[in-house]
Chain length 357, copies 2
């Protein structure tokens, strides 16, 4: 009996001890995993946005306009960053930041999109997820309130990567996305801009304004985010070019041209003269230069924007972010609405070329 | 007076002599340039085509079908090669070869294009010129007789790279391209194929046929050519995927995904499950691997098609050609209609995997 008692006691002790031990072990394991995550998965979260590059000069801006842009960029950064801080995936942050800019008439995306030659707003958007290299895009849509959300829906709920025009709108409606009257995107100053460009076109000869963009802003908004799990996501949304011809598709919705993400290298969202960005495969080329030529994000970014695109004749820029959370925001125009936020920094926003980043 | 006479005579002689001298010099210079061109510019002309990759098996083909395909591929090769032999630019050869395949019901491009889910033919095409990296593309067009010609026209006569839908059709009409009734593209067997896929979709559950392509052929036709001046051009034309949703844009009209050309590296035209080809940036990645990783055309081609695309889940293949006239025709499906022609070879055409190239 005594032996049995001792036996049970031994078993009891064994359980108590192993339980304790297991608790201790779990905690240790958790700690180990956390440390490992930090080391391997680049703990830091990071977010970078742009609101378009172009001829954006201090002397052409009132103090009020300057302040308005900075406030809206900060709001977009904070909205995206809040998602990352809450532990949400990078894509959620990208969508949140871009939607704020789509809903603002300040940027050439969503409300405030520029007008086509026919006086319509045709919107394009794309998203890409770095972990899976899944992607979605819509092109030439006029009735979807949030084109970036439609791009996400194409990625998540269709077997396709890119959908255009009425087909994309029909798909978005089926998915329950908010459909609006095309007039929702109308803003008077963008409409006036079209009239000015068309007038200049008439004066200068046919299509002159389409071939040269002396005073253009290439609107477009974009965001690239890195979440706590080391996943990168990128997105771009745009109204395209003022006076573009009916049916024109620019670089924004084209994976590899205006939008790209791969956890192994980087995420990119571009803004600029889309035709050149398509031909130079700008967004993917950043990744290719890192992956194959061993360049850093900064080296690849600078080479493309300040050397290759300049030689090629392509004006604009992009934002990019690598797996370690490093960011780059190169542009070869006089300005680019841009900003970033990470664990070391509150929202930092910039407009002109001469601002110290 | 005598002095003046001598003076004029001297001037006359001077002119006669320098004129003679100048003629001699010009001829020498011309000769020198010609020799230099021959040495530097890789004299050989070369042409490679494809008519689509997919589940193409010997046991499913009658001898007549097999012969029909081979005859049409040879015809396309000869038409393109004749252009190169006559000294025409690579782009002329690309257009000539592709138009023969567009006009044949055997291939999924032009006549014989597959049907969308809605029972329509929506055609896509793209061209790119390696010397300038100019490019043009149309997507989702239903009334342009030769989509590849429309892509060329976008490249040559518009400020844009990519146009879609009605806007592209309107542009093509303005350019004087031949416009046809959408019924022009109808073929009974492609229509029957849609009905079969839709039936299977109904049986297997919603969109099943869109997510898996067990028996699909990814039609598409393409050509890459190298002309006597060392210029590369590439083009792709397609009807897309059977049962694709209205508005879907595949890889063919997307520069860097299905079509790419750069004299510094190579020209590429792809055929396969477009969504994967877009996400993997297939066409440009061949060039990037050559340019940045120092791979040969063959190494880059094989790595992408037999390793990376297989891991990624993307079935299909491509044709490619480098500045020295080397060609590659890799595919990871059971067959790909393909062929090449160069100074050393009469038209060589192949269909199945086991054929020795």
């Amino acid at each position: 009996m005594k032996k049995t008692y001792q036996y049970y006691l031994a078993i009891l002790f064994f359980f108590v001890f192993t339980a304790c031990d297991s608790t201790t072990k779990d905690a240790t394991e958790e700690k180990e995993i956390k440390t490992e995550e930090k080391e391997v998965k680049q703990g830091p979260i990071s977010l970078v946005i742009h609101g378009g590059a172009g001829t954006i000069k201090r002397e052409n801006m009132t103090d009020e306009q300057d302040a308005e842009y900075r406030a809206k960029l900060s709001e977009a950064l904070e909205a995206g960053y809040a998602k990352l801080e809450s532990g949400a995936p990078a894509m959620d942050a990208v969508i949140a930041a871009i939607q704020i800019m789509e809903e603002s008439p300040l940027f050439n995306a969503g409300v405030g999109a520029v007008f086509t030659n026919e006086g319509k707003n045709e919107l394009d958007a794309a998203v890409m997820e770095g972990k899976t290299r899944n992607a979605g895009a819509v092109a030439g849509v006029s009735t979807i309130k949030s084109p970036i959300l439609a791009a996400l829906s194409v990625m998540e709920n269709s077997p396709h990567v890119m959908m255009s025009g009425k087909g994309a709108e029909q798909f978005a409606a089926e998915q329950g996305l908010e459909i609006v009257d095309p007039a929702y995107f109308f803003t008077q100053n963008r409409y006036d801009a079209l009239q000015r460009v068309k007038q200049r076109e008439e004066e200068d000869g046919r299509s002159a304004a389409l071939f040269e963009f002396p005073d253009s802003k290439f609107g477009t908004v974009g965001c690239v985010a890195l979440d706590k799990d080391g996943n990168i996501a990128a997105g771009t949304s745009t109204g395209g070019m003022t006076n573009k011809r009916y049916g024109r598709i620019g670089d924004a919705p084209i994976i590899a041209a205006g939008t790209y993400a791969d956890n192994e290298t980087c995420g990119v969202s571009a803004t600029g003269h889309g035709e050149y960005f398509i031909r130079a495969v700008v967004a993917y080329d950043v990744a290719a230069k890192m992956k194959y030529a061993g360049m850093s994000l900064e080296e690849a970014s600078n080479k493309i924007v300040y050397e290759e695109l300049v030689d090629f004749g392509g004006s604009g820029g992009f934002i990019a972010l690598d797996r370690a959370g490093n960011i780059s925001m190169p542009f070869n125009t006089s300005g680019m609405y841009r900003g970033y936020m990470n664990e070391k920094s509150s929202p930092k926003v910039f407009i002109y070329k001469d601002e110290k980043e």
